[in-house]
Symmetry: C5
Subunit: 268 residues, 5 copies
Amino acid sequence: MKGWFGRSLRYKTPLEKIMPSGRAMILAYDQGFEHGPRDFKENPRSADPLEIIRIAKEGGFTGLVVHRGIAEKYKQEILKSEVPLILKLNGKSELYTGDDPYAPQLYAVEDVISLGATAVGYTVYTGSKYENEMNQEFARIVVEAHRAGLVAIGWMYPRGKSLRKKMLNDEDPTVVAYGARIGLELGADIVKVKYTGNVESFRWVVKCAHPTKVVMSGGPRTKTEEQFLAQVKEVMKAGAAGIAVGRNVWQREDPLEFSKKIREIIFK
Amino acid sequence: MKGWFGRSLRYKTPLEKIMPSGRAMILAYDQGFEHGPRDFKENPRSADPLEIIRIAKEGGFTGLVVHRGIAEKYKQEILKSEVPLILKLNGKSELYTGDDPYAPQLYAVEDVISLGATAVGYTVYTGSKYENEMNQEFARIVVEAHRAGLVAIGWMYPRGKSLRKKMLNDEDPTVVAYGARIGLELGADIVKVKYTGNVESFRWVVKCAHPTKVVMSGGPRTKTEEQFLAQVKEVMKAGAAGIAVGRNVWQREDPLEFSKKIREIIFK
Amino acid sequence: MKGWFGRSLRYKTPLEKIMPSGRAMILAYDQGFEHGPRDFKENPRSADPLEIIRIAKEGGFTGLVVHRGIAEKYKQEILKSEVPLILKLNGKSELYTGDDPYAPQLYAVEDVISLGATAVGYTVYTGSKYENEMNQEFARIVVEAHRAGLVAIGWMYPRGKSLRKKMLNDEDPTVVAYGARIGLELGADIVKVKYTGNVESFRWVVKCAHPTKVVMSGGPRTKTEEQFLAQVKEVMKAGAAGIAVGRNVWQREDPLEFSKKIREIIFK
Amino acid sequence: MKGWFGRSLRYKTPLEKIMPSGRAMILAYDQGFEHGPRDFKENPRSADPLEIIRIAKEGGFTGLVVHRGIAEKYKQEILKSEVPLILKLNGKSELYTGDDPYAPQLYAVEDVISLGATAVGYTVYTGSKYENEMNQEFARIVVEAHRAGLVAIGWMYPRGKSLRKKMLNDEDPTVVAYGARIGLELGADIVKVKYTGNVESFRWVVKCAHPTKVVMSGGPRTKTEEQFLAQVKEVMKAGAAGIAVGRNVWQREDPLEFSKKIREIIFK
Amino acid sequence: MKGWFGRSLRYKTPLEKIMPSGRAMILAYDQGFEHGPRDFKENPRSADPLEIIRIAKEGGFTGLVVHRGIAEKYKQEILKSEVPLILKLNGKSELYTGDDPYAPQLYAVEDVISLGATAVGYTVYTGSKYENEMNQEFARIVVEAHRAGLVAIGWMYPRGKSLRKKMLNDEDPTVVAYGARIGLELGADIVKVKYTGNVESFRWVVKCAHPTKVVMSGGPRTKTEEQFLAQVKEVMKAGAAGIAVGRNVWQREDPLEFSKKIREIIFK
């Protein structure tokens, strides 16, 4: 439906903004917190949030993930870019090596609304000793995000000592599917998960999370561009909604060109 | 009393909805959280919440137990099914193997009222190192549920290291009766407990919980249908109000047919 | 002072209700929580709260101690009995064997006002590793109880590893007097303590708690009725205000007859 | 300035009430909590709060330290005595022997205002494993006390395992001065500290706390009266504002006579 | 822009007050809390807050860091000095030697607004076992400080066991840059960090924190004045905004003269 002045009158829901035509291509930029500046060494311009906002905009991304500090300092630039803002609500540095992973919620949902967020994100390390704390925090975030009209995205990464004792690794289909399912049970709209390595097993992940949407986590930069693009093709074939990628884009020589290749797979 | 248009004017209390004619037959579907997708392998359609809502409706269940995420995503479908909604307020994954069981409260009672819940459920592992936390959470839930006009159901499962040291297992009559009694002391309207193995000892459980109602927990699928149906007959004979069952129904080849057999025992 | 219709116009304070003529005879019924159903085996009718309410009323008790669940389910019956209701606000099961005793507060003072409570009770295990938590909770309860016009009763039971290391047991006069004194310092109106074994030492306990009133804790059923009645006589001689008793009444063959014998000592 | 009826019109600040002419002589009576009734054995009348209120009044003390329970039960008597009331907000029993000292806040500042308190007191065991908790609680208390127009007094007692490891004891000048300084940094109006043993080192303590006032803690009863009086003289010479004393007064045969001797030193 | 009476009409933002012409020269005086009176031995006058306020004013500092107690007791003197007040919100003593560093938040942002604060400061020991608690507290402080119109300054000091295990020390460029970056991610306006030892590596620190401003932490007094001044020159060359210095100024014989030398480097 269009109004008399030719513009669509239809309001886009937050989920539609991040998933136009049902597909998502999200640029992740919380590595400065999680891994520190070492991730910027490959491409020193990537240390500058402005460069990333440019990539997000010109690369046609449907979402940009940052921490609150960056969102606040570049509020105007992000708004102007029109890339939907995804606020990562938890984080931890890699300097501390604890017994089991836990990244606590750092900001309240109400602290990010005024920054123009379209979505909030939170990592749940299912299987960690601190699983309970994370389930509680994410469950609460979902309630508050939906009340505020925001999309809730779960970084669902089962991990920790208990898994190692059970000889499970964090890319086992059973493990990835379990994490994705917890996302649904807690009410996530989108879950970000590791790739399981093949189409069939990833289809099971997608099925167990349904109707929650599944996006693949980009992970560290693959040796060749082709390796990464092949993964993207497979997850799309398995029924995923898209990907959330960081280093595989902004550590490359030409992030925009590579973004284009990804875009063509996801939105073809 | 009936109004002039022939419909009963009498308001049904929430407890009457879940226990029409004083009997309860509840379909449990929180296993995706507690055990993960492995429970769906037996019958892959069971991964889909819509399939479970269909079984609850067509199988004549008087309650459906789900987590908040599923209740939110399928709010309309559950409302249309007219099966009373029971919101499970706590949960944990089986990926983490802690020192002693504890599944923390994930949602507030007020977070589930608008989803149309008739009841809330919570698991108390009496005897666990975290017994105190659970008693506190459940006591609070009962107060808030009753204030909001909801039924409070306790999953009363004594468990943990202390019991093992005392050579007690979680189906000992003493143990089951103690759990059921804590349910009454904390104000539960219904307690869900393990079967003690024979009618006489289960009658003691029912007596110790009185006037709180007792339903048997279904547990893992029994080898034969008869084994399960025999248990249902015994608990009903012992004075229980019914059962809460999951895998024993939706892991079977024909869940509806088996539901009918259970229904005939409980409501005969 | 009496009004024209012959009824006393004077309002009875909550403390006067529980201590008419300055003496208290309280029936304790929180054992279903603390010890579980095993305490009911002796006299199976004692599992039924209605039977206990009957004993409280017909036995002439000046207070009945129960947990919130029972108070809520039998609100009408307790009100009709006219026995002042004492809500026990904390509790723990004996299934868990922790490092040191702690029974956390389970209900807020405001959660029990509408149930018609005249008093609230709380156990402090002074000397336990969790002493601080209990002192904080009880101090808070006293403030809130007095604000709401309720009597605050402290179950003052010094206990735990630290005492064992110091070769102290929980009936040593030093220990009992210390517990009673903490009750005064925290503002309790009545403290319930163990008997020290002789009149003189119990007099010191009463003195150290003054002006807080002291009642003796009944404990497990004594072998003979005489043993228990002798204790009651001694504590009254030592200046105590009365007793709080459970098993020594409702585990006996004829609870009412035995109640009468106690009553005659306390109110003679 | 005096009004026409001859009474001073000038309002006395709470600090002036406790420190008339800039000097303080405070009677401490929280030992029933900290040490238990054993402290009353020396002089059994000291178990009775009324006796202590009498000593405070007739001995000319400028402050009386009690816990909330006693302040509440003897509210009228304390008000009539006109001795400024100092509410001790934290405490612990000596029955529990933990790894490191911590006495948690038991009452909120707002819980003691209506009891007529002029000041609130709190113990900080700097150097203890629980130093952080105590710093947080005391910092908060100072904010709230000042907002309510009350004086904030810090019992500054560095103590614990860390000190023992560093071969420091709690009367070392370095240690006492550090504790006193933390009192200033957190905003205490008065700090109560151990005596360092000589005038010169105590002068450094007074200097490091300035402009916060310093009073010496009385400690256990000294063998002779002279020993204690000599200490009082020295701390006054070092620039202290006075003392806070308990056992050294009310464990003596004639508390009033001894109080007079102290008074003459402090207010001479 | 100037008004008719010749005074600038332009309002100075809090950041402009602390960083006039984009440069900061901050006087730190929280050592009485962190190290205790031993830091005052070098120059005993430094124990007196008034002396420090005088140095701040006459030395031309653009900020003075104190704890709340001192800010409250010298509110008038600090206001009159016109040196912007920076409230340090957390602190710990060096008497306690814990497993890993953590200085908890002691005052709420709202507790310091009425004292006339222009900025608030908080130390984050990234890599410590308590990193999560500190990230949460500082993130919250940033939100509240900005809401109240205050500058948020992070003392970013990666430290703790995890770093030692990784053979990292707290002046490694990687470590300092990581700390500075966390400051940006959490929304700090200014970060105070250790010097990395050379211009090039410090430039990387400044780049990774951008657009958050970087000031060098003064640290313990250097042997010669020249050593310290050389460091200041280098950090300014690396693009830093200035320094925050304490002992290197007020432990010197002539603090004002040395302040002048620093000022000339920073504001030249």
